[in-house]
């Protein structure tokens, strides 16, 4: 009996948590389907008699949403690619090679994570301004990459530390160079870590607002968060459009996560060495 009450209690708690997570998402979907003047309604009904996809049509046909989406894709894709390539190679070097200053490098990478991003805005802005990279994709990509990389490098290094070095030694004996042993043997077993790196880099750039608002000033170059914010005017906000945009923005991340999650499996190295 006591066990049943315990289970029931846990279930209730979990349902509460799920509701807390789902409510904002459902609410935003609900708002995206209503007209702007129905924003304040307290009803949680998703589809009412007045509901329509008008906001979505307006979003795609009458705003620059597609341009912002393209911009976001370009920036996020390059940041993800940069993150995966640089973190996978530098993490490997930090895991496998001993060199003078290795500890200092690792520590300084960790140190960069201790400063809040907003604190770095001014130095970043000055740097980009000097290189004339304000109002450009490259400027944004450099900042996103440099803020996402430290975490990615550390977590790739941590993963490589768990991969037995005998694997690449064996590959080298089999005829691989150090680099081909890395690409042919180590990278395939490091897929879960690479997926985390890719997801982290993508998410860090896809939904980022503060840095983008400093670097990008031309609406043609806006990324999605900046574009969405532009629906918010000082006197009136187009909540329907805003919500519809938010829903669409979340779709690529969701798809990416569902697609990549099947690679997030543990124990890829099982069987390679004596367990």
């Amino acid at each position: 009996m006591r066990k049943k009450i315990e289970t029931l209690g846990i279930l209730c708690l979990l349902i509460l948590f799920i509701m807390a997570i789902l409510y904002p998402a459902l609410n935003i979907i609900s708002v995206s389907l209503r007209s702007d003047d129905a924003f304040q309604t307290r009803s949680l009904t998703l589809w009412t008699d007045e509901s329509s996809f008008k906001s979505y049509f307006t979003l795609f046909l009458e705003t620059k949403f597609l341009t912002w989406m393209k911009n976001s894709f370009i920036v996020s894709f390059v940041v993800t690619l940069t993150g995966v390539v640089l973190a996978s190679t530098s993490g490997y070097a930090l895991s496998r090679f001993n060199f003078i200053g290795k500890k200092a490098v690792l520590f300084s990478i960790l140190m960069t994570q201790m400063f809040p991003a907003t604190m770095l805005l001014l130095p970043f802005f000055i740097l980009l301004a000097k290189f004339e990279l304000i109002n450009s994709y490259i400027g944004l990509i450099i900042i996103y990459s440099s803020t996402a990389l430290p975490f990615c490098v550390w977590q790739m290094k941590g993963y490589y530390d768990t991969v037995p070095p005998e694997l690449e030694e064996s590959a080298r004996m089999d005829g691989c160079t150090r680099f081909s042993a890395f690409t042919k043997i180590i990278l395939p077993v490091s897929v879960p870590a690479l997926v985390i790196t890719a997801l982290f880099s993508f998410m860090a750039s896809w939904s980022e607002y503060v840095v983008a608002s400093i670097v990008l000033q031309d609406p043609e170059l806006y990324t999605l968060p900046l574009g969405l914010k532009s629906f918010q005017a000082s006197l009136a906000t187009q909540w329907g459009l805003y919500a519809a945009g938010a829903v669409v923005v979340s779709i690529p991340v969701t798809i990416l996560f569902i697609f990549l999650s099947r690679f997030l499996v543990s124990g890829l190295t099982i069987g390679s060495v004596k367990g």
Partner: protein, 367 residues
């Protein structure tokens, strides 16, 4: 077929020197076992031959060619690792074929080589499986097969059987020896297990603390150990080493320690002894001690009465661990014995098979 020659190899990790002036000649087609305790540098030596470790000094020759700076891929040696090191994302077939694909051999040639090796090791029914679906013994066979496919000039084995259970280890020992006799390729095998060394080796290289103590056939190592270290390492159970001195009384050479008095047979001792007395370490293998109760040959003068501490029954023989005063003595005797701890046992020493070592240098003294 090709041999391996190491000349004055030095290797350090930081301030610690791991290998000190190692020179070794492994003949073409020979099965050389490098044996020694953990941390003696034997695996490092193997990795140096493989090209996985650099050297500070010295030369490595494989098939007569200097290979000091060559990449592992260019040395034409194959290595079987202690922990298998199979590629986990590949099937057994892909594991075996990997080295051949890197060398861009034709599909048919790869298939032929893989099947030939797989059949030899009886893993041809496992080719579609991933390493995680294999047992320890099967994984070890795949690791062997991967080396075999390459048809290398030299095989290197880094304690390949240490992760297997005793029965499987014995089976694999036989497999590897059989493989060697079939291929007749040079094999260098590293182990810490003296039984493996004794049963598999054409020659043994015994290492200790970064130096080679002795190189020789198993029989040479067992019968003529060059020092107390070798005598202790080779032979199971370990040799009894007893400190004492040899005195000449009339025509008789006698070994005397605190508790023992052994009448030596060797007439040359008297001729060789510079003084009438010499401090010595006497080595008696447990196999050269016989239970007086069962022994057909009796030697009253050289029979020790000792107290049994405990008995290890191994089936065909039993090892009795005894003491006489402060001297510990182990004997390998017939297992029919009903002797128990606390009992007295009369052990006859076979004076024809004694070993003598200098007390100051621990080096062998040949009388």
């Amino acid at each position: 077929m090709s041999g391996v020659t190491l000349k004055s190899i030095y290797k350090s990790f930081g301030a610690q020197t791991i290998l000190k002036n190692i020179s070794l000649e492994v003949n073409s087609g020979e099965f050389m076992v490098v044996v020694g305790p953990s941390g003696c540098g034997k695996s490092t030596l193997l990795r140096i031959i493989a090209g996985l470790e650099s050297i500070e000094n010295g030369d490595v020759y494989i098939d007569g060619h200097k290979k000091n700076k060559d990449d592992p891929s260019k040395r034409e040696v194959a290595m079987v690792f202690q922990n298998y090191a199979l590629y986990p994302t590949m099937t057994v077939y892909e594991n075996l074929a990997f080295s051949q694909r890197i060398r861009k051999r034709s599909k048919s040639e790869i298939q032929e080589r893989v099947m030939e090796s797989a059949k030899k090791l009886r893993i041809d029914d496992l080719l579609d499986r991933k390493p995680k679906e294999l047992s320890g013994g099967q994984r070890q066979r795949v690791a062997l097969g991967r080396a075999l496919v390459r048809k290398p000039k030299v095989f290197l084995f880094d304690e390949p059987l240490s992760n297997l259970d005793a029965k499987l280890r014995q089976e694999m020992r036989f497999e590897i020896k059989k493989l060697h006799s079939q291929l007749n390729t040079t094999m260098i095998y590293v182990t810490h297990d003296q039984t493996e060394a004794m049963t598999m080796a054409d020659r043994i290289c015994l290492m200790n603390d970064g130096v080679i103590e002795q190189v020789g056939t198993p029989q040479e190592m067992y019968n003529n150990p060059v020092n107390t270290y070798v005598s202790r390492f080779i032979g199971m159970p370990p040799i009894n080493l007893i400190e004492g001195e040899i005195n000449i009384e009339g025509d008789q050479a006698i070994f005397v320690s605190d508790e023992l008095k052994i009448f030596l047979k060797n007439e040359r001792i008297r001729e060789k002894l510079s003084r009438n007395s010499q401090k010595i370490i006497l080595g008696v293998r447990p196999q050269d001690l016989h239970d007086n109760y069962f022994s057909e040959i009796k030697d009253i003068k050289n029979t020790i009465t000792a107290t049994v501490d405990f008995v290890e029954n191994l089936g065909s023989t039993a090892i009795v661990h005894t003491h006489k005063g402060n001297t510990q003595i182990s004997g390998s005797i017939k297992s029919e014995t009903s002797i128990k701890p606390g009992d007295s046992i009369d052990l006859i020493i076979d004076v024809n098979s004694l070993h003598f070592f200098n007390q100051a240098t621990n080096e062998r003294v040949n009388f």
